[in-house]
Symmetry: C2
Subunit: 467 residues, 2 copies
């Protein structure tokens, strides 16, 4: 067909991309067809060919990594003070959420959390002194994830904080997480002040010893079982933990009663847990961490074992790329903001809690928890859609964690970075939102998309390793 | 068209009823259309016309009854020994589930429950003596429902048993129910023996005083709120009460601890509740009873306020027909039977627990609890279908009790006997199944259809009253 013929014939448009253009064609009586297409992800030109060439090897590695993840058996085995149990933790160490970051690049809520932590530790008596010490170079900052730990939001772990100890019974590895402080003015959202410090001290001196004694009596608590039940009860164990908290409470309350001789303390401990439906989050997170850490180091695997945000950067790690982090700027969530706050107040996405999505829970299991979607203005069908999309980018399905509304189908598990890039479809994460300034706290909650950058970089890195 | 023309023309079949006939037509190349039709319900010929004539009046009465039901506010306000608090209860009274029945017509599990109750009361030391006393005429049997009470399965309430006290805060009326014994050998399934008696004694002497003291500290517990939460957590509060039990447990455990000075007793009480996910059933039932009783006596209303079975008869009562019972034989459920049992072992449907369906919960809310349908071999879509069908026969929707999978639509509430009859669609009930012999216990669970008989009789009776 010559150019003359082409333009002489009636216009037929095949529109790719922005649909408005097709609609405009319609107005001028030109026939147009819309093609569902997304722009290609910006990766190195040779990566796709390399990964295609090694597809069989990658597939085999992914099956191995997936099997390790599916076979994980996280159990709550006890509590201990962080510095006594977290590997590599010194008196000057402060752990934080997300990929590595220096003080000068930390966001407001993370700085607030560090300052609150230094005051709590007695290393500073004023916030000004805490800020000076924090920026002095004397404090060694490290990601929780590099110390077998995870932390929600700012994810600050200081040496004196009590932590849960989770053991992956199948593989013998451990994971650690602080205890959830509840809502309101809390360190993990970057709040500080007397209220925050006093609560942390009470957690160290009352909550910790009471729960430690109770757990010594109950013996290990099977978190995989509790999470599976919680998914049947409307939780996705990231932003909704009411069922998980209830089931944990039922499991430990008689032991609290039996082992605690101070009645006031025992009542206070039970009321503290009962007053905080997020209490179980700090167990679902390390349960996923213990499960996923066992799959580290499976050579050639394109499955993610970490997604984490420090409030400045969003970072991921793959089973097949060792200790490398792949990062991109964290984005400000399009969330539901509490009265009096807007997106302008919000800090970019923050926290290790995306370990739940990495483990096939949270946003990946949101079809089990339509109440979360309703809370941010969506419908039950949206929750189903989010979960169904995640099957597109995962290597398999959980044998234990199920979605009732999908006829108890296993949750989508094991994010395959190849699928994320090649389908241009990023993980969905449901999350809380912190104020961008230190000292304020939570301002909203929402369902957010991970940025593509870290996945594109990980894709290229895996190709380089396999080349 | 003459007969000759009719049979000369190509055969076109309009098939009504059994679909297999249409399929047969298809095999012989005759075109056939299937019409969705059900045989008419057997009611008095004039009833439909009378009820149609009074449709406006009935509609208005139903709106009034529905509003009373929707506005009910059942709260758990305390516990007391049955004879001290249940109106009209004497030392010789034994209450039972379902419509009125005499000893000679009682089914095996109800007789077993009565005998167990008499042994528990110390009125007989052997089962033989208990049976003799039970049949002597000295015992006054009466339906729980005629004494502001409800009871699961056999529904036996004897004078010394502790009962929950539920108050409908909106209308000031009360409802009562025994405490749930747990599973295994239990009186409500017609079991007897030392194990049953000892548990009942422990419930009277330990469980009751400990919970009574705890509730005095917590103050009234809002059951409407707990039930609404439980529906968001996978319960329908009839056959699945795991969430309701968990939430109740959370609410009372700190008070048990604070008010009970005997640590062993307190631990035993918490373990007893924790070991029985049906514990909340005996609160969801009287919550519905207190809610529905307030709508009794709304003249002209065709809304059911009771559905109940005594294991021999299935009976209903309407808001608009006073204290009349409308009964038909109870049917043996097509259920999932436990290993070693079949339908031949099963007693006909028994228990007051269908008060939950009458109140818009249980089978009517089963879309909130797909795990129940899965348990009996169905799919999540079946659970949705059951609930969606029940909107066809109800007067309205709950403003508080919601189905997450239906975008938090209110549960179908207020069974309209006109719709049941005219659409020939009976209520769905999910239930436990008792062995037909006294002394055995539970043999299965399933989803059953109510018999049409009581609804047809109630339909005719309402027409007679309005004529």
């Amino acid at each position: 067909m010559s150019i003359q013929q082409l333009f002489g014939a009636p216009l037929k448009v095949v529109n790719v991309g922005i649909e408005a253009f097709k609609e405009t064609c319609g107005k001028f009586s030109a026939s147009a067809v819309q093609v569902d297409w997304r722009p290609a992800v910006d990766v190195a030109p040779e990566s796709e060919a390399i990964l295609a060439k090694h597809a069989t090897r990658i597939e085999k590695a992914n099956q191995k990594a997936l099997e390790i993840i599916l076979a994980g058996a996280p159990k709550l085995v006890g509590l201990e003070i962080a510095r006594r149990v977290i590997p590599g933790m010194t008196a000057d160490t402060i752990l934080h959420a997300g990929p590595p970051i220096t003080w000068d690049r930390m966001c407001g809520p993370m700085r607030g959390g560090v300052m609150a932590g230094l005051v709590y530790e007695g290393r500073a008596t004023t916030l000004a002194a805490a800020e000076q010490l924090a920026s002095s170079g004397k404090i060694q900052y490290a990601p929780c994830h590099e110390h077998a730990a995870v932390g929600p939001m700012a994810g600050i772990v200081t040496p004196s904080m009590p932590v849960w100890i989770i053991k992956n019974e199948t593989y013998g590895n451990f994971a650690y997480c602080t205890l959830n402080e509840g809502l309101g003015k809390v360190l993990r959202y970057g709040a500080f002040g007397d209220e925050v410090t006093q609560r942390l001290k009470w957690m160290e001196t009352v909550l910790y010893p009471v729960l430690k004694a109770a757990l010594a009596q109950t013996g290990p608590i099977d978190l995989k079982n509790l999470i599976a039940q919680a998914l049947h009860m409307g939780d996705e164990v990231h932003n909704r933990n009411r069922a998980g908290t209830s089931l944990l409470y039922r499991a430990i309350a008689p032991a609290v009663l039996a082992t605690c001789d101070n009645k006031d303390d025992a009542v206070a401990v039970l009321n503290f847990i009962n007053g905080n439906d997020h209490f179980f989050l700090n167990l679902s997170m390390p349960a996923c961490k213990a499960t996923l850490d066992a799959a580290r180091g499976v050579k050639g695997s394109s499955i993610a074992v970490v997604m984490a945000r420090n409030g400045t950067d969003f970072g991921i790690q793959l089973a097949g790329t060792g200790d490398l982090w792949f990062t991109a700027p964290a984005e400000v969530p399009d969330a539901l903001y509490f009265a009096g706050f807007t997106k302008d107040d919000a800090n970019p996405d923050i926290g290790d809690s995306a370990i739940t999505e990495t483990g096939g829970l949270g946003g990946f299991a949101i079809a089990a928890a339509p109440a979360i979607v309703q809370f941010v203005g969506g419908a039950a069908a949206d929750a189903l859609r989010y979960t169904l999309q995640m099957y597109e980018i995962t290597a398999g399905e959980s044998r234990m964690y199920q979605i009732p509304a999908l006829d108890f189908r296993g949750t989508p598990t094991g994010i395959d970075v190849r699928k994320v890039v090649e389908k241009n479809l990023v993980p969905v994460i449901d999350t809380g939102v912190a104020h961008k300034q230190a000292g304020v706290g939570q301002v909203g909650a929402g369902i957010v998309a991970a940025p593509m950058g870290p996945f594109a970089k990980a894709y290229d890195a895996l190709a380089k390793i396999l080349k």
